[in-house]
Symmetry: C2
Subunit: 224 residues, 2 copies
């Protein structure tokens, strides 16, 4: 990919198990992040590890997420503690002839770092736009922009993608030599997150059609 670079590994990002599945190029990492929109954020609070799901967007070399100012998660991770952010895309079930070699095809990214809090209204609006356009390109310009009160109630955080790794399992099952002759089906069942038919909100004016960018979004996820 143009402009992709290889991230320097650290003790935290260097894969110890199955290192051949690792990929430290930003091209690969960005692509995986762009194919999902919910990450799992891990952080410690009073000695306890918590993992919570959060919607995010990627813009350049950062990911962005937002939450209410009262949230325990956001109150904790705004304070500069080290966090771990993991994104996993599931691509298929891998069915070998042996139980042992069953697996899952997946692509995951693990990011280490600290959050930065976006401060000005302009920065926050930009961060929120990145998150929404990541979820559904074209949506931002088709919504009522946040009021000052709404912005004040919202925390927007970013994390640099400087210390990250990706791990990928792809392709058919591995088999032991002696299993290849067994009369069992083996292969992959592909899996994909797919959008369905949009459900208009109750009471929506009937004259308002589903916008073109939503139809495009649904079409973009090609059928199997």
């Amino acid at each position: 990919m143009d402009g992709s670079k290889i991230l320097t590994t650290t003790n935290r990002t260097k894969l110890k198990t199955l290192p051949k599945r690792g990929d430290y190029s930003t091209g690969t990492i960005y692509k995986i992040l762009d194919d999902a929109f919910v990450c799992h954020i891990g952080f410690a609070s009073e000695g306890q590890t918590f993992v919570l799901p959060v919607a995010y967007g990627r813009g350049g070399n950062k990911i962005y997420f937002h939450g209410g100012k009262g949230s325990r998660l956001f109150k904790t991770i705004r304070t500069g503690v080290e966090i771990c952010i993991t994104v996993t895309v599931i691509d298929g079930l891998v069915l070998a002839k042996s139980a042992f070699h069953h697996s899952v095809n997946y692509r995951s990214v693990v990011i280490f770092g600290k959050t930065e809090e976006l401060q000005t209204a302009g920065e926050k609006i930009n961060g929120l736009k990145i998150i929404m356009e990541h979820l559904l390109p074209g949506r931002w310009d088709d919504t009522r922009t946040p009021s000052e009160k709404e912005l004040n109630a919202t925390m927007v955080l970013s994390v640099n993608l400087d210390e990250a790794s990706s791990k990928i399992r792809t392709g058919p099952p591995v088999e032991e030599e002696q299993d290849t002759m067994l009369n069992l089906w083996s292969g992959v069942i592909p899996i994909k997150m797919k959008p369905g038919k949009p459900i208009p909100a109750p009471g929506l004016n009937e004259g308002i059609n589903v916008p073109g960018y939503i139809i495009d979004y649904i079409k973009r996820v090609e059928t199997f």
Copy 2:
């Protein structure tokens, strides 16, 4: 649900943000766990939080997962450290007329506890069967069972579901009163993980058809 009970909340499981979205009944928690097969496990190692994706299966009031004995993750979480296991099912994009009220429909479970390591060959076989049957019902009896060597290389762990909570966002977008008249589309785009057409492994004997339980699995995910 028959036999469902309400779990006692603890300081770790009690929802602080939007507590009305919380559900502590085992019926709801089991259903969410049964609708996914990859969890994110958070743990601390040398003061650093890690979050890694792991396939799991639920059997009764426990979840099970397995890994190689050399894996950093499994070597750490077998030692009785407190871990946090999170499972998230994404059900849809929630598109309000205001940017502020955009959301995601989801169901998540957060579990706290320590692992127990399954010790005997019989216990391990039982745990592995639970994991495989969770991924794809009917598959276990259609595979070559693990050899003693394969079992010895595998660690199987379980965690009790005694300290857990679920959180659910469902339904249409919330709107501010003054936004209801805006000429913008609002509603929900449902999202679902869907299996595609099975891909036979290269070299698979052509006489081996896709088994009925795989066809059933694909059909069970109803179309939108």
